[in-house]
């Protein structure tokens, strides 16, 4: 079974909505039990929902605010991509602005089974006070 493009896009947007709402359990429920999550690409791949709990919980605790941008699907029946801009707190650095592109794959049950986040040091900038 393949999830259609519109529904895959809804899953990607729901991820941002739940992160912004601070709903960690809601976010985790979007993922397949054996999800592979690489954030950012080039770092350790987290495997499984529980491995994500600490990672995404830390982002929520840091007050992450995500603004979704360009959103696309693909013809492979699983992929959806989302451009995100946002801000979050970083210990010792105040609040920072970031840009990223998320490459997600969603299975036929509507669960995200792979996430690869493209963002590097040059995509993070301090937010000026005042």
């Amino acid at each position: 079974m393949v999830l259609d493009e519109a529904k895959r896009k809804e899953v990607a947007l729901e991820y941002c909505r739940l992160m912004n709402a601070g709903d960690l359990d809601g976010v985790l429920a979007l993922f397949a039990p054996d999800v592979r999550f690489e954030d950012p690409v080039g770092t350790e791949v987290l495997v499984g929902r529980e491995a994500l709990r600490g990672h995404l919980g830390a982002a929520i605790d840091a007050g992450i605010e995500e603004v979704p941008g360009a959103l696309t699907a693909a013809l492979d029946g699983t992929s959806v991509t989302l451009q995100v801009s946002g801000t979050m707190g970083v210990p010792g650095a105040g609040r920072v602005a970031f840009r990223l592109v998320s490459l997600m794959r969603v299975n036929g049950e509507g669960l995200i089974f792979e996430v690869r986040i493209i963002a590097g040091q040059s995509d993070v900038t301090p937010v000026s006070a005042g």
Binding site: G42, T72, A73, L75, T81, L103, I118, S122
Partner: protein, 145 residues
């Protein structure tokens, strides 16, 4: 290993060379053994010859790529940029119709298409793009007129 700025510049140069119709200049950004898939799910193609044919078709359709802010990953290879591409329905549109990606327009000779796309490139140690993937689906294509 190409730094983040270099990889972002390559992704943007892809768009700018398409906009100037510079097919050979675009190929110069790519490894001769490049693997590319546009769109993802349509099947991977390999090499400059296949890429030349693919890009030349878009240039013949008067393609214009409006790109957004690029991003790059700390893996030393990957960059991505969101792109909105516009091009004439002809000459490539009938192929899209055959694959069920768009409906046949009432006036093919004047119809123009818009694609929302995420372009992802992987750059090798020598500074050439070794892999390119364009993510777009049926829901990302529309007629402008």
């Amino acid at each position: 290993m190409p730094d983040e700025a270099t990889r972002k510049a390559l992704a943007v140069a892809h768009c700018e060379r398409i906009n100037s119709g510079d097919v050979e200049g675009l190929l110069a950004l790519y490894s001769p053994a490049v693997r590319f898939e546009d769109p993802v799910g349509s099947g991977q193609r390999i090499g400059h010859g296949a890429l030349r044919s693919h890009i030349a078709g878009a240039v013949a359709a008067g393609v214009h790529d409006a790109y957004g802010e690029p991003v790059a990953a700390p893996d030393g290879r990957t960059a991505a940029v969101p792109v909105t591409s516009t091009m004439d329905f002809l000459p490539n549109g009938p192929l899209l119709v055959r694959h069920g990606l768009v409906e046949a327009p009432p006036e093919p000779g004047t119809a123009r298409l818009e694609f929302t796309c995420m372009l992802v490139v992987e750059v090798g140690p020598g500074g050439l793009i070794e892999e390119m993937r364009a993510y777009w689906g049926r829901s990302d294509v529309r007629f402008l007129n």
